[in-house]
Every structure is written in structure tokens, then in C-alpha cells.
Chain length 600, copies 2
């Protein structure tokens, strides 16, 4: 029996009691599904997690792949996993029936992604990347490309990848220099280098389908001259032939070692064929659709690793005897207590729990917005688009940044043992650290949030979010026990608006560098407010269940725990906004004034 890595009860609560995911099946697009079909796919994912993923969590980390004679040998369980995911239809879970998918809501897809990654995070990168690459082809590729690539990708035999980053450009995509030269054979010839390509080469699939950003000869400079290409490792001619994509190097990462990060070269022999996806020079626009999804995927990854870490430290705290409760009496002759009795241990566990469940609530909420955006029209659709756009950088960053902290506290619960490989915490600590870097660092997410999302359409997204939060506040006000927290959130929303206006003031004066200088702190402020909202929302549902449902036993305990954890978050985490607001309203400008010399 697998050790616990997530809470099925909590997932059920979020999906069905908070988000009412079943309601989605009333829309045409999802009408083939019902709650039972949702539960079936979630059960199937848990089976894969329990039987194929979790058992290899440690082993995959220990056997770090290397590049040897041009080949990258990864753990053979990767193939079993890809096969199981393909056979169960999970790689294309949310794809339309006509592109070979199951047409499931993103809400359900996100729940299963979370479960799988909590079981063993690194291998889920393989399928996540294939899904992302396939979705680009399904959304923007020609019928021919779709027919050629989608079936093999969705059944798990061909690996998809995303090739954006180049050595000289890093996050600055306007500077990419991979070139594409048109030919009269219906393809382009590509030439260039890409780095940090996750799952970019390995020996557990039959082919690779690289989605590559490149610049067509003569295209405009900057972001408006970038096109997107499908570049397979082996291309189909009379037989499959090598397509001049080579592994030039492999990165040795601190964590997520089971997923090789490759340095790839395209067109070394001038024999690399790529097929344009959609129109010329629209590559970045297409890629951004995928990146938005990928950002939520990284958020899920963070929440998932934090979840596995939470249950590992909880288990330890429940079993490990050490020390005695503090009560001022002479205690040396009394037996030791388990460490879960100590307030500081409980503080760390509550922090972990509040981060895991707060993150997951936000991520599933975002997934539901994505579903509703797809099936609604007009003002309603616009509302969901705005909310999703605004919340995506937060839903990527909070589970990453606070997830990293929460796994660190999880390690601390175990003390010296947590630092050693006898327990899984040290691996989780290494694994989760990448989440604040993947798919745009926290710095970049923060600039996106403040620089684009907050200001778009005159701040409309923020207004819509404020309404959503106000709705939760009003509901909470109807319960005497929750009133205090509702008022607190309302007050901090006011502080948040004050800070936002202060910062946007700089943008309006054209002081753009000053406007964005503290975007990172603004992100933390926003995250704390948004996750507090998610906690209050959960507390309202739990309170209502307690008041109206007369729950017993484990159910009673579950709902009480929800309210308790909300109280933790409001007492220990939300107050951090006070310090953040002080800094954000401060006029020190220490990070933008002066020369570089002040740093040396």
C-alpha cells in the first residue's frame, strides 16, 4: 500500500463541494461526462500514482541519466508510465473528441495532474510536455500535422517538447536567433541551439516532436518575427530518417533528476526539417497559450510536491517520540510525547497544510475559469478570461515560492533526519526548488502580474476579482464565527488597493522602472490576499456543512480542520502584507538608484 501523498477527501471537497465541478456537465461541450466519469478517471490516475509512479520516486532520483555516446538512458519505469498514461487517455484528457481526446474539463485534468505529480513529480514532466506540445498542434496546426503527430503523441509513444530558451537569450525571447529558411518542399530548414529542453532526449519513446521557436529569414526583429515549428527527431520519408537534431549536452540538476534537461542543436548538417505551425511570425502568440497552461502546470507541480512533503512530515510527527509537553512540571520521569504535541511542530505542519490546500484550491479555481471561458459567451466569457489572465501568474508563483518554504518546514519537522536520504524530504526539497524558475521565474511572473495584468483594460481584471472576493466576504459574514476573518480580508483588500494605486501612479507618470521595481513584493502581497480568499471560501463551505449537514466522525473532523487551517492562514500568513505594504509604499528606491558599485 502506497504511503499517503495527497488527501482524496480534500480533492473531493474542492472539486465537488467548493467548485461544484459536476455543474460543468450541463454545458454541451462536457455533456458526455458526469460525476461518475470524473471519479473514474481520478481513480485511474490514483492507480498509476500508487503503482507506477510512487514506487520509483527515490530510485529515479538516484539513477540520474547522463548523455553517453549520444544517448540518454532514463529509468525504464518511464516507458510503463507513458504507456499507462497513453492507454488511459490521460495525455489528451482535455483534448476534444475529434483530436483524439477525452474532452474532460481542465478542472478534472488539473486534479489528476496534481495527484500524479504528488506521487512522483519528475516523470510527470514527460507527459505534461507532450500534452502541451500536442495541444499547440491541435489548436494551431494544419489537419495534416494533426493527423501525423497527434495519435502517436496522445498514446505516449512519441515525446513532445517545448524549445524556447537559447544560450544567449534566456528568458528574453525577443532575442532568440534560431533560423528557419523556407524550401519548396513545404518545410523550412532550421538551424540553431536550444537549452534546458526538459525530456528533450531519452530512450523510452519512439520519437520526439519538438515545438521550436525560430525566426524565418527576413522576419521582423523582436517578438513579432518569431514563428513556431514542428521538428521531429525522426522524420517520415520512405522510412523514418534522422532529422539532424542532436543532443549536444545534458544539464545536471539539483533535483527532478529523472527528467533530463537537454542542450539540443538543430541543423548542424543543414538537414533539419521543420513544419510551420499556423501562420508565420505568430509563434510567440501561439506559444503563450501553451505557456499559460504550463504556468498552471508548474503551480500544480509545486502544490503536489508540497503535498507529498506534508504527508511525509505529518506521518513522522505522529510517530516520532521526543521531548515532553511544556507545562512547567518536573518531567524527566514521564515518557516522551510524539512531536506532534509541540506547538512549533504544529505551526510548521499547519503552514504546510495551509500552503498545500490553499494552492490547490486556487489552481482548481483557475482550471474551472478555463473551462467556463471555453463554454460561455459574451460578458460571462470575458469575466472568466480576465480572472484567469490575472490569476495565472499568482497561481504559478504562490505554490512555487510558498511551496518551497513549506517543504523546507517539512524537512525541519524531521530535524537531522530530514536532511538525510533515509527520508524523502531532502529529495522533495531539491525537486521543488525548480518551480520558481520553470516557465518564467518569479521575477518574470511578477512583472507580468503588475506590468500587464493589473493594468490591462484600465484595471478591469482587478475589479472583477475584487467582486469575487467581496462575494465570498459577504457569504462569510453570515456566519458569526467567520465574521472576524471576513472583515480582516476586506480590510487587507483595502490596503491592497491602496498599494496598487500607489504603484500604478508611477506607471501613469511614465516612471516604468520605478513602477515595476518591487513587482516581486507586489506578487507576494497579491498572493497572500488571493490565497486568504481561497481559504475563506473553503471555510464558508465547511461551516455551511457543519451547520446544515450534522456531519460525524471523519467528516466532522475534516470540516473543523478546514476552518482551523483557515484561521492559521489568517493569523500567521496574511499579516505579512503589513510589512510588504510598508516597503511598497516606501520611497527608498534602493534597487533602482545609484550605480552598480554600491553592490560590489
Amino acid at each position: 500500500m502506497a504511503k499517503q501523498y495527497f488527501s482524496p477527501r480534500n480533492l473531493k471537497f474542492l472539486l465537488h463541494e467548493v467548485l461544484q465541478a459536476g455543474e460543468l456537465t450541463q454545458y454541451e461541450h462536457y455533456k458526455e461526462h458526469d460525476r461518475q466519469s470524473f471519479d473514474m478517471v481520478l481513480d485511474a490516475a490514483k492507480q498509476i500514482g500508487d503503482n507506477i509512479l510512487q514506487p520509483f520516486f527515490v530510485e529515479m532520483d538516484k539513477k540520474e541519466p547522463d548523455l553517453e555516446e549520444g544517448k540518454v538512458a532514463v529509468h525504464t519505469a518511464v516507458k510503463d508510465y507513458l504507456k499507462a498514461m497513453g492507454e488511459s487517455g490521460m495525455i489528451g484528457a482535455s483534448f476534444s473528441f475529434e483530436t483524439g481526446g477525452q474532452q474532460l474539463p481542465h478542472t478534472i485534468e488539473s486534479a489528476l495532474t496534481f495527484m500524479l505529480a504528488a506521487a512522483n513529480n519528475a516523470p510527470t514532466m514527460y507527459t505534461g510536455l507532450t500534452t502541451g506540445a500536442a495541444r499547440l498542434i491541435a489548436s494551431f496546426g494544419s489537419k495534416t500535422l494533426q493527423e501525423k503527430y497527434l495519435p502517436k503523441m496522445l498514446d505516449g509513444s512519441w515525446q513532445g517538447t517545448m524549445c524556447l530558451t537559447e544560450p544567449q537569450a534566456g528568458s528574453s525571447l525577443s532575442d532568440i536567433s534560431t533560423t528557419a529558411v523556407p524550401t519548396d518542399g513545404g518545410y523550412h530548414k532550421l538551424k540553431g541551439q536550444k537549452i534546458f529542453i526538459s525530456a528533450g532526449d531519452h530512450d523510452q519513446c519512439d520519437n520526439f516532436v519538438h515545438l521550436v521557436l525560430a525566426r524565418i529569414e527576413g522576419a521582423p526583429s523582436g517578438t513579432k518575427g518569431i514563428s513556431l515549428f514542428v521538428v521531429p527527431k525522426f522524420r517520415q520519408e520512405e522510412k523514418m530518417v534522422e532529422n539532424d537534431v542532436l543532443s549536444a549536452g545534458i544539464y545536471h540538476k539539483m533535483g527532478q533528476k529523472a527528467t533530463p534537461a537537454m542542450h539540443l542543436t538543430f541543423g548542424d548538417r543543414d538537414e533539419c526539417h521543420g513544419w510551420l505551425v499556423g501562420e508565420e511570425n505568430k509563434g510567440l502568440k501561439y506559444m503563450f497559450q501553451m505557456m499559460n497552461e504550463a504556468r498552471l502546470g508548474v503551480g500544480l507541480l509545486g502544490a503536489a510536491i508540497a503535498s507529498a512533503a506534508y504527508y511525509a512530515s505529518l506521518e513522522y510527527a505522529l510517530e516520532r517520540p521526543q521531548g515532553r509537553k511544556i507545562n512547567g512540571k518536573e518531567q524527566k520521569d514521564t515518557p516522551q510525547t510524539t512531536i506532534i504535541a509541540h506547538a512549533d511542530i504544529r505551526r510548521m505542519l499547519l503552514f504546510q497544510k495551509s500552503v498545500v490546500e490553499g494552492s490547490l484550491a486556487l489552481l482548481l479555481e483557475c482550471a474551472k475559469y478555463a473551462d467556463l471561458e471555453k463554454v460561455t459567451e459574451g460578458d460571462e466569457k470575458e469575466k472568466y478570461i480576465l480572472l484567469l489572465d490575472l490569476l495565472t501568474p499568482i497561481a504559478k508563483t504562490f505554490p512555487s515560492e510558498y511551496g518551497i518554504k513549506s517543504v523546507s518546514e517539512g524537512m525541519q519537522v524531521l530535524g537531522g533526519y530530514g536532511y538525510c536520504s533515509d527520508f524523502p524530504l531532502e529529495q522533495m526539497y531539491r525537486d521543488i526548488r525548480i518551480t520558481s524558475i520553470y516557465e518564467g521565474t518569479t521575477g518574470i511572473q511578477s512583472m507580468d502580474l503588475l506590468g500587464r495584468k493589473v493594468t490591462m483594460q484600465g484595471g478591469k481584471a482587478l475589479m472583477v476579482l475584487a467582486q469575487e472576493i467581496q462575494e465570498t466576504v459577504s457569504e462569510a459574514m453570515t456566519f458569526e464565527d467567520l465574521k472576524k476573518y471576513a472583515e480582516l480580508l476586506q480590510k487587507e483588500m483595502g490596503r491592497f488597493q491602496q498599494v496598487t494605486q500607489h504603484l500604478v501612479g508611477f506607471a501613469m507618470k511614465g516612471a516604468l522602472e520605478r513602477f515595476l521595481a518591487d513587482a516581486n513584493l507586489f506578487m507576494e502581497f497579491s498572493s497572500l490576499v488571493v490565497v486568504s480568499w481561497q481559504w475563506l471560501k473553503q471555510a464558508v463551505v465547511a461551516k455551511r456543512a457543519l451547520v446544515t449537514g450534522n456531519p460525524q466522525g471523519e467528516d466532522l473532523q475534516f470540516y473543523e480542520s478546514k476552518i482551523h487551517t483557515m484561521r492559521y492562514f489568517f493569523s500567521y500568513e496574511l499579516p505579512k502584507v503589513k510589512g510588504l505594504a510598508t516597503t511598497l509604499l516606501d520611497d527608498s528606491e534602493v534597487t533602482i538608484e545609484k550605480s552598480t558599485e554600491v553592490l560590489v
Copy 2:
């Protein structure tokens, strides 16, 4: 030439301009020294750092030692290092001349420890442990024990260790169960197990001198029945014979891999001889002297790793081109800027710098208190004892906890590269994580601070500290530019006193669990106030130098950078106390009320 891992200019500033370390030589105990002899030993340490330590930083991590056929093979550079440290007299740097030392101030010893650990932290554990063990023998051991062990330990040929932790007891030392049975041969027979013994076995020394806590048969239970023993691995009879100390296991740690952490068994064959140090049942008292020193040593370790990480990320930020300055103009055709131009990168670098230099300032201040405590008498001596007692848990914890965060920000500066082994950040990130666990976790330090140090002698230590801080505030008030910061610190000191009184109120009512429940947050609050004080103190010295010394070039830049970094700390870090105060004054009690079920 070695890459920079610390700032010699900053060390000079702290030692000579802020702390006036030269003044110590006016005391009898240090009269053989002068500034020149101080500088000589620091130069010698830098040579060891540059030539013997830093070149093996990566290699030692990669070749993690294992326990094979009872033997632990570590990197051969360890022997070169031990030899160099022994020959230069640095293992016994602060020991008295009569015990074979150099009688140097702790202030200088701390500076050299910092430098060495910044060059390559893991191997410095070997010498740090030998110094600690030898100091116990020098302080409390008989003349015979001293003569038998000190020369070999101080010359680096015998390895000292500290054997406290046992599998069933962890941090709860009152529960240790290793036994010692008296014999009529002048020794005791020991039996028991010890875990996490750093440098507890390896092949680069001739013998081991374990300092072991054990319970003499019939001793009182609890902490008052613990005695301290010297237990060599090989004991001298006619020839050296095995003393029944065996390596039962080795821990595989996430970082500091060059230092093996051993599981040792004593007396498996009932043939383990141990020699009592000092008196029976006073072992824990003796050990605490060493542990106070060891806590400052861990603080130095944290500050040192954070220092090396700071210079590694600074170097990267100065060289790596990416993106453009934000100024609202169309920028695609301008060349990329180096990333140090970006405000968010500067924020992260300033954070790192403020943590490194703030930590080091505090640690050297503590070391000077230790020196002054040794050479003064009466009220003056008591003042230094109080300050050192109060500040030790803070000086251990801030460089660890904030050091961990600062190395994480250092990794973030490098983005994806920081997560890979091509750069040293990922190793530093793994290495430094142990510092909040070594020598008492942050939770334990925090209980020590609030539960013992704040309340001792009716809060006298806190009053003495408040006077010291007030003195710095008054000095800062005399400079127009610093007034704002002086007032801010004064205000936050007021808030700190309010919070302290609130918490101590619970202790006075006998509500001890409640009193200590948030000790961890109280620790962070205290640390931020204390390190702000250290920054203001540095700013006063820098400002005075600017006003009176008319410095030019690099000196001018150095002093301006000091004031700039102080401003960063006051704007970005000190405001965090607002949120902490809110939580500390809150009455939620979420970590002590309710049953365990709310966590599950």
C-alpha cells in the same frame, strides 16, 4: 587565482573600524599580539582557503564518502587541510599558550573560521569539531588528559568529535541512555549508540577523540545525571589498541557531503574505555560551554556559505547579458544589458549582501563579547556575559535562516543555471540548509532565547542590549542622513518591548506552553531588530569615515555601499516585524488548542 568568496575589505572594516579589535591587545591575556599578528594569521588562513580548500569545493561534494568494510574513505585533500591547519596553529588559535595554543582573540579566530568556511564549508567541520572537543579537554579535563590528547589534536593528526545525539532521544538530551560503568582501572566502560556524529570516522587522520555524553550507573535521571567522557578510537596501551568504537552506519546527506555523519556504537564487545572529564554528572554543563561556541560556529558557517554564494551570483549578474532596462521605449534593436541593471536582480543581490554582512557583523560582535568577558571583571564582565548569552541563539539562527533564503535568492539570480551543477549555487543551497538544524534547530534556539535568555535575571540581558542599541541610535542621530533610520530602529525597539511584555505575561501566569508557542516568530522579530542595529552601527562608522576621512576611489565606494545596504535592510527587511508583531499579539492560539485531528 581563486574566485572571490568573501570581501577582505569588509572583514578589515568590521574588525578594525567597527570593532577596534586592536584594543584587545591592551589586555594582559592578548598582550603578545598586535594588529600585525592578527593580519598575519588572517593572511595565512586566506592562503589555506585559496590553495587547499576552494579548489576542492566541487570535487569533495561529488565524491561522497561511503562506509565500506568498516572504513570511510574521504577526499585526500582533507589530510592536507588538517596538516596545514595544525602546522599554522589554527586548530588551537584561541587556546592559551600553556595548552599549546596561540592565545588569539575569538574575534580573530571567528574571522578566520568565516574565511575558511566561505572557501569550502564542509571540510572546516573537521577542524571545528577538533577545536571544540579539545577545548572541552583544555577547560575541564585533568592534566593527564590534556597532555595525552591536546598536542595530537591541535596538530591535526587526531580528529575530535562531539557525541551527543542518540537514536531515541534526538534533541532531548535528558533522555540519553549510553551507560558508563566505573572500573578500578581509572576508566569507565561505555556502552551505547550515537548518531549524526560529524567527522566521526574517516581515513585522513591517525586517531579519533570522541567526547561522549553518558550516564554513569546509578546517576540521577534527567539532565542532572549526565557525565562527559573522552573515548578514543584507539587507546594507548603498550601499543595503540582498538577501543571498541565501531561505525555502524553512515548518513547520506543532501549537502556538506565531504563531512561524513556517522552512526557509532560504543562497547559492543564490552571493551570500550572512556575517561571522565571533570566531575561526575556535570557533563551537560561542560558540554553547553562547547555548544555555545558551536552555535556561533554554525552561525559563521551560514554567513560563510551565504558569502560565497553572494560573490558567485554577483559575478554572474555582472557578466550575464539578458533583456533591457525598462524605460518604455522600443528596445528590440538595442543590445542586451547585463542583468545587474534590473531592479529585481539588484533587490536579490542587496538582500544577499545585507544578510552576509549583517550576520558577520553580529557574529564578530559576539566573538568580541566572548573576548571581553574573558579579560574583564565585575559589572563589566557581567555585561558581556549577559549580552553573549542573549545574542548567541540569534547569532546562530539569523545567519542560518536568512542565510538559507539568501542563497536561494542567489540561485534565483542565475535562473535555470543556478539549479544546475555548472555553477556552485546549487551545492551552496544544499550545504547551507543544514545550518538551521545543526547544534539545536531553530525551534530549540527560539525556545532558548524566549524561554531562558529573555527572562533570566528578570530580563536584565534584554535591558543591557537595549542600552547598547540606544547608544548606536544616539550616535546615528548626530548624522542628518541617518536620523530617519535611527528613529525607525527606536520605534521598532518599542514594538519589540511591547511584544516581549505581552509574551512574558503568559509565563507569569504560568501559561508556559502559550508563552513559548510562537518562540520561532519571536526569534525572527528579535533577529531583525538586532541585525538592523548591526547595520546602523556599520552605517555610523561608514558615515563618520565619509565625513571626516575624505575617502576616494574604492574606499569611497565601500562606505557608500555600506550606507546603501543599511538602507536596503531598513526598507525591505525590518518592516517584516509588523506582520510578526500582529501574529505575536494575536489571540488565535491555533498551534496549541484543539486535538491532533485538526492536522490530519
